[in-house]
Amino acid sequence: MSASNLEKILKSGNFAVTGECGPPRGSDAEVVRKKGAHLKGCVDGVNVTDNQTSVVRMSSMSASLILKEIGFDPIMQMVCRDRNRIAIQSDILGASALGINNLLCLSGDHQKFGDHPTAKNVYDIDSMQLIQTVKRLRDDGKFLGGEEVKGTRPDLFIGCAENPFADPFEIRAMRLAKKAAAGAQFVQTQCIFNVPKFEKWMEMVRDLGVHEKIYILAGITPCKSIGMARYMKASVPGMDVPDELIDRLKGVPKEKVAEEGIKIAIEMIQHVRQIKGVAGVHIMAIEWEEKVPEMVKAAGLYPRPQVN
């Protein structure tokens, strides 16, 4: 077992809660601390995004360390878009040396979506192979090139992401099985808005027995406004926002929309908690971190357990 708090929580059978903190577009560590402060005591680990949507931000490793210093268990995200296998392995060693114990392996959004669409992408390896890479360094103590890791091996709890709402739907459970086989120990799903579809996916996951091989954390995102829901439906690739959800937000007075968004998210947490095989929730309150404590408390998931 790694030194990861998240791993301990999950292994002890507790329903896990993770949050997210997007690093700033500047060099101020205080911004990270402030954002993180909202999540204090409410989460078992915090995802630190890696130049999400291909917009340049403070590095996920630095922001992870800043959060670690104020008591969080950071879940450092790493995408394959910007690094080749040399840089990837180097960053894995570096992250572990800094006391970061969770690594979330992702392909990454295409650079076309970000603020540097004219950049060259790398994709030397993909997310599946990144999972294998971390496992190989950690368990076999071997670099991809075959040489031995000298001395201490990286100590990491290996995570991945999966989007049950992307196409082709019929391979999405198989894809998770593949990631588990590659060495992923936990998965955080894309934001769930279409619950019936998520349930169907979970059924397929269970049919393959994957829920017994990997901890599944259901992705929860509260909608702040009708505009946000509409934007995600129309413009974020692989996002499935049903009309009923938009209609429900539309059905309340304007000043109550945000509150309704939180309410929906809390119901969602309670709902997914009942689904067999769901081991926790990953709350992505994008630029709305201050609402996380309220959600966690209302969902009956506060305080977070202490495990050693």
Binding site: S107, Q129, D167, I171, K178, G238
Partner: protein, 222 residues
């Protein structure tokens, strides 16, 4: 075939600005098939440029010439008697052809009139699309004839990513998701179980990452 696009007219006007007598080269191979740099396109570009310069009061003489191939020394050398008569050579051949002509006539400036874009196919009349990046180690056997290196915007070997929707790639709603195509094909062939095989790390040294590539067949050398 190698597919290319003509460069913007303004850019070409800039290229020819200092000159009054140039050679405009075309090629009878790929760029003819993709309707970019064959005899017809060379004639059109020459007349457009001449007309423009005429209007500017600075007429230009343009010799149109189309080689059978611009990537073979035998054809490229056939230019020898004429190249000296022109101040500059502008070429509508692909990037390989342009370079090869430049290598042969070092005293001349050889400028590109096209942007060479990809190795692809004619999907239908007037539509071309990319198929192969020449990675040097073909894995089409594993993906049943659809290239993930080329047809997935992220060159994923274990796709599809989470952005694949409705059969389209996340980068462009008009581009098919290469991995959707692979999964469809696996199903079609009743081989979906093959999807579970994790594709290993790619050896990119056979690709351009290993440096410019060269092929030698001793038995064919004269």
């Amino acid at each position: 075939m190698i597919v290319a696009n003509r460069k913007p007219f303004e850019e070409l006007l800039e290229f020819i600005k200092p000159y009054s007598k140039i050679l405009l080269l075309g090629c009878n191979e790929c760029v003819t098939v993709c309707a970019t740099g064959g005899a017809k396109e060379v004639a059109i570009l020459a007349s457009e440029l001449k007309m423009h310069r005429e209007k500017e009061g600075r007429p230009i003489e343009i010799m149109e010439h189309v080689l059978e191939r611009n990537c073979d020394p035998e054809y490229v050398e056939s230019l020898k008697p004429m190249v000296g008569d022109y101040e500059m050579v502008m070429s509508m051949a692909c990037g390989c052809g342009i370079q090869f002509v430049a290598e042969h006539y070092r005293e001349k400036l050889v400028l590109p009139a096209v942007n060479t874009t990809f190795d692809g196919v004619t999907e239908e009349h007037g539509v071309w699309s990319e198929r192969c990046l020449g990675c040097g180690n073909c894995i089409l056997d594993k993906t049943l004839g659809i290239c993930p290196v080329t047809r997935c915007a992220k060159s994923l070997f274990n796709g599809p990513c989470g952005g694949s929707q409705g059969g389209k790639c996340e980068v462009d709603k008009d581009t098919p998701c290469g991995w959707q195509l692979i999964v469809d094909r696996l199903k079609e062939m009743n081989m979906l179980d093959k999807y579970m095989e994790i594709q290993p790390l790619k050896d990119w040294s056979t690709s351009r990452d290993g440096g410019p590539r060269r092929r030698v067949r001793e038995d064919l050398k004269i």
